[in-house]
Symmetry: none
Subunit: 191 residues, 4 copies
DNA sequence: ACGAGCGGGACAGCCCGTTGTT
DNA sequence: AACAACGGGCTGTCCCGCTCGT
């Protein structure tokens, strides 16, 4: 007996959109390309996404945010001390950049910059940043950082990595990421 | 002796382009809008910019980079110690964001993310980041930071501010910027 | 004994279609909107209307024609003399226009003009005009007008009211209708 | 010496648009078809018509209105008495219908019904009706009809012919037009 | 009778880059 | 150095007709 299995078209389109928005930006990516690369059918696009491109982008932001959340959680589980944890995240991001030949960075930033006029989209990006900051802050607190300082420090870490990804991509060179993580380390407490 | 005073059309277009690319992204901004808002004539656009939109964007990146360089130099002149200097820069960026109601952030980042396929454009963005990092590193050296560490630290500062601007814009709230500068301060040496 | 009470979906769709074709024209109205506004289910549309949009429009024409027929019959019953009868019809049409803020006029005309390529549709419109003319002619004959002249006169009345509705709608002003009825009156015989 | 002779593309598009809007209605006619049939270039459409399809339709209404104005003036010049004048106009309209095999009627009505949401378009149609009514009213006055009645009578004539054109087209038979003109004649005064 | 989904084509609008002429 | 005009491709959006499975 086969479970009715709803079409995968919607999810396929979201995945492809996250990748393409990341590579080419929000305005630089057309729906046609997203559908072509995802193999999703054209006719049901506005059935799956009544809100059009914007709604698709909101979903793409959620997917991209969840991937990074997963990365952060995995690093936190492996490294109890914040210094190694942040360096591990930076290394993972650097590898991600290199593996795509610096074509893919962070879909959230790409969409945040390309479409900050759309309030729902902006809101989704804001939620992504907030979740990352929250995860980092909790890890810092667990490592003994005082709660208020942990929040501000987590904000700095998110911003640093975010900015370092953009710069690394522009340079086609991951040193900005590793330097950022290395230089941040002393802030997390005594070695 | 009369200076020929070339037409301002070219410069007007560049200025408008920097503002609009910042606000709407590279692909989100059309040449028609740039010409309309700058008042530059349509007919001579490809006389002034034979390279088309890409060449215009390169010039816009240079202009935007120079503005930030000016900001950095001014802050360095006023604040000999790196902590206050970086905090002053963050405050200035925050004011810039607020003044435009978070519509304008950094044209370099907007273009870097929107058009990183164009090598000349990417090169111009890379040069912008490099010049900022260089200015910051020299200021750190002058304040007594060892040269190698100063370069890495400057890289972190640039990345942090860059990322904080993106996040602040997304949040419509400047705290990410001020938090970043505050948390970075201890890295610059003993109070 | 329970009357099977067939689903109202079909009738709902026809009613909504008549209203929307009237407001927006045949090509300006999509099936999706008709279904949305009527609350009729999407899945069974082609069960109820195997002929698609065209068949739905034919039914809409019939409904709209019947409404006008009803209006004509009621006016004829109340006013034995043709002059008052036609003026009463014009007033009713004017009220109908005003009540919808001149958004709705006559669905038959809207469809006749928008889709006169479809023979079945054209046929339905022709039947509507014929039935109105017939009703009017009989009323004129009953009032003493000679039979041949009654037919031609009824044709003029239908055309006048038809045209006056279009003009009134364009003007957002019912005077074209009342003027038409007033000026026609002398043709119906001695006061 | 050659007069710079601006491109005929704009006028070509307007002429084709008038014909096609008449045949297929406003919403039933696409810009692509208008450009294809007129031979006008695609790239400069929004140069010639910044207001898009709506602006094109406004011009088409003006052209169509002017053609009818010309017809009315010619008939008025040839027939000093209103009866023959109106009958001559009706004959001309009937011939026009027959010549196009009842595919073309009156572009103004087609657009008035298809796009009465667009205020500028509605305004252009209103102006067309007003100009026809005015021409007719002046002719009636010149023939001795009292001024106030002439205006109302002219309104009736315009509405009748308008409606008769729609009905004739639906019937593919010009009798509605000739009947209308014949039956109107007694209103214009003693034979 | 009906919801979900597909297929592919059309819509209006706008894009960037190039002509000719002046 | 600026103009009117072109060329044709692409955008997001929406369309109608249909087939599934229930």
């Amino acid at each position: 007996l086969v479970v009715p299995r709803r079409s995968s078209a919607r999810q396929d389109a979201i995945t492809a959109a996250a990748r393409l928005f990341d590579r080419q930006g929000y305005h630089g990516t057309g729906i046609a390309q997203i559908l072509a690369e995802s193999g999703a059918p054209r006719g049901s696009f506005y059935f799956h996404f009544p809100g059009g491109k914007g709604e698709l982008a909101v979903e793409a932001v959620r997917v991209a945010a969840a991937e990074v959340e997963h990365l952060l959680r995995a690093a936190a589980a492996r490294h109890p001390r914040p210094g190694p944890m942040v360096r591990s995240v930076a290394r993972a991001l650097a590898q991600w950049l290199e593996r795509s030949d610096y074509a893919e960075g962070c879909a959230v930033t790409a969409i945040a910059l390309g479409a900050h006029r759309d309030d729902q989209l902006r809101s989704a990006c804001r939620a992504a940043y907030a979740s990352w900051q929250c995860l980092l802050a909790e890890h810092l607190v667990a490592a003994g950082v005082e709660r208020d300082r942990a929040a501000a420090l987590a904000s700095l870490v998110v911003a640093s990595l975010e900015g370092a990804v953009v710069i690394s991509r522009t340079r086609r060179d991951p040193t900005a990421l590793t330097e950022a993580a290395d230089q941040l380390t002393p802030l997390f407490g005594p070695a």
